[in-house]
């Protein structure tokens, strides 16, 4: 049975994290599970956690009147769900729903923010990793925004 800090290191995002840092992260975390179809969080609710997905798939949804719930992104195992804990006003921008049964580590945002302020190295390492993921997501989103499939082959 793995300890939480071992599980943290399992996630590709936190591979090679600074000495003692997985333990710090683990100190703010616990394991959690969601059944398929269960909601993780809703738009507008207070955002004070984030999730490191170990198993399953989470859909980020935007509710559009007349169109219903649009899935604008899915997050896969090994990735992180939730960024709104990082900056005020700490509220969720989208809904999140488990598409398949989810096992995750849920990390308390306030706890982690306090630790980062006390230990700048932890803060720096986390910020570096989170920025990389955000950049990748941003670029992928920009490509989808270009609506490339709109033009067609075949004359």
């Amino acid at each position: 049975m793995k300890t939480l800090d071992q599980v943290v290191l399992d996630s590709p995002l936190f591979a090679g994290l600074c000495e003692g840092c997985p333990e710090q992260l683990a100190g703010c975390s616990k394991t959690i599970g969601f059944e398929a179809g269960e909601t993780l969080f809703r738009e507008g609710e207070p955002a004070d956690v984030f999730y490191i997905l170990r198993k399953g798939r989470v859909a980020l949804e935007l509710y559009v009147p007349g169109r219903g719930a649009m899935t604008i992104e899915t997050i896969e195992a090994g990735d992180v769900v939730g960024w709104s804990w990082l900056f005020p006003p700490h509220t969720w921008h989208f809904d999140a729903r488990a598409v398949a049964p989810v096992r995750a580590i849920v990390v308390n945002g306030a706890c982690l923010r306090t630790k980062c302020e006390a230990d700048p190295l932890l803060g720096y390492e986390l910020m570096t990793r989170f920025s990389a993921v955000l950049l990748e997501r941003l670029n992928a989103t920009r490509l989808r925004l270009a609506d490339l499939y709109g033009g067609g082959r075949g004359g």
Binding site: G150, G151, G152, R153, G154, G155
Partner: protein, 377 residues
């Protein structure tokens, strides 16, 4: 070169030559003064030639003027090239009767009478060879072009006076043609007005047998050589072709393209008059009943937006990219696609460009490399 096969004919002989070709069933086409220009049109006799006329070429300018002699071929090239006849501006490819689902297709036959091209300049002869490679030298043969090409009789004429925009010497296409013709005429006016005739094929020899002629002597051949040398020395333009393809392809973002784009109107005149430009498109039409449909093949130009249209838009939207496409194709990528340069140095594009863009000037400018850090600068 076999000196013994060169002959001399007089002006009467020239008339006989045209008559002999017509008599053999050829449609003789050659230079004719019409609409203020020297065009290629049907010749009913040698009297149709623009006797005593010449052309004055300048960037963006072409004028026909009277000479002070009666030279039959005292000019260079006008707006027409022989692609008027080999790759006409519009032809029908086929016509079909749909018959409610079991179409009967009739491919358009080539013209019944083969052409005799009378008065082909060496640059234009080279251009015909270039189009031969494009349209018959690959995996697929253009039927109509091949059919028109197959029967033609070629009478080349040497240029004694190159036009002021000519650079056939730079492109290796002139001023003299050495092969690829049935007959080659050199107009000699030192003394009696006569023509030296070089016979280039058996067919040429057969035709000459019907035309009154006498053997040519070395003074006539010397006169010809002097004319050719003089022509070579009087070119109006030059184009340095050494490493040209590589230089152009390495400078696709050169600021000169922006500069020429400010002047270019994308009118496409250059592509119309260029003897090697071959871009075509097709137009499908139906009659009012929808029962009879046709496909025509028509000249297209890379200067049109349509030319590069794919679903979603045209790839070459800016005038800059279209001028660059034309010039890079003509002088650079043509080599990789078809094994030769696309340019024969006839100078027509310079004369017929409304703003006088000079391809020799643009080519020289775009080779000059910009900026530091360029190894070969």
């Amino acid at each position: 070169m076999q000196p013994s096969s060169d002959v001399l004919i007089t002006l009467d002989g020239l008339s006989s030559l045209v008559d002999a070709l017509r008599g053999r069933g050829y449609q003789v086409v050659g230079p004719k003064l019409r609409d203020g220009a020297i065009l290629y049109d049907e010749l009913e006799s040698a009297d149709d030639l623009p006797s005593g006329y010449t052309e004055i070429h300048a960037p963006g300018s072409y004028r026909v003027e009277r000479r002070d002699d009666e030279a039959r071929f005292g000019f260079a090239v006008g707006p027409h090239s022989w692609k008027q006849f080999l790759l006409p501006p519009r032809i029908r490819l086929w016509r079909a009767r749909l018959n409610g689902g079991a179409p009967e297709v009739e491919e358009e036959p080539p013209p019944e009478k083969p052409f005799a091209f009378f008065g082909v300049r060496s640059c234009d002869l080279a251009a015909i060879g270039i189009q031969d490679r494009v349209l018959t030298g690959g995996r697929y043969v253009d039927h109509d072009y091949a059919a028109r090409r197959e029967g033609i009789f070629v009478v080349v004429v040497d240029c004694a006076e190159p036009g002021r925009l000519c650079f056939c010497d730079s492109m290796g296409t002139g001023p003299s043609a050495e092969s690829g013709f049935d007959l080659a005429l050199t107009e000699l006016m030192n003394g009696e007005h006569r023509f030296l005739v070089r016979i280039g094929s058996e067919r040429g020899a057969e035709v000459m047998a019907e035309v009154p002629h006498e053997a040519a002597g070395s003074p006539d051949q010397d006169a010809r050589e002097a004319l050719v040398d003089n022509a070579r020395a009087s070119m109006g333009r030059t184009l340095d072709t050494e490493g040209l393809k590589e230089d152009i392809l390495q400078n696709l973002e050169h600021p000169r393209w922006d500069e020429v784009a400010d002047r270019c109107l994308s009118c496409g005149n250059c592509t119309l008059v260029c003897p090697t430009c071959f871009c075509v498109g097709v137009e499908d039409t139906a009659d009012l009943t929808g029962e009879v449909v046709e496909r025509d093949r028509v000249w297209n130009s890379c200067f049109s937006l349509d030319h590069s249209y794919v679903a979603g838009g045209s790839v070459r939207q800016s005038g800059r990219s279209r001028y660059r496409q034309w010039m890079t194709h003509k002088l650079a990528t043509w080599h990789d696609q078809f094994g030769t340069s696309g340019c024969v140095g006839c100078g027509r594009c310079i004369a017929w460009c409304p703003v006088g863009i000079d391809i020799t000037e643009e080519a020289a400018a775009v080779r000059v490399r910009e900026g530091a850090g360029d190894e070969n600068a």
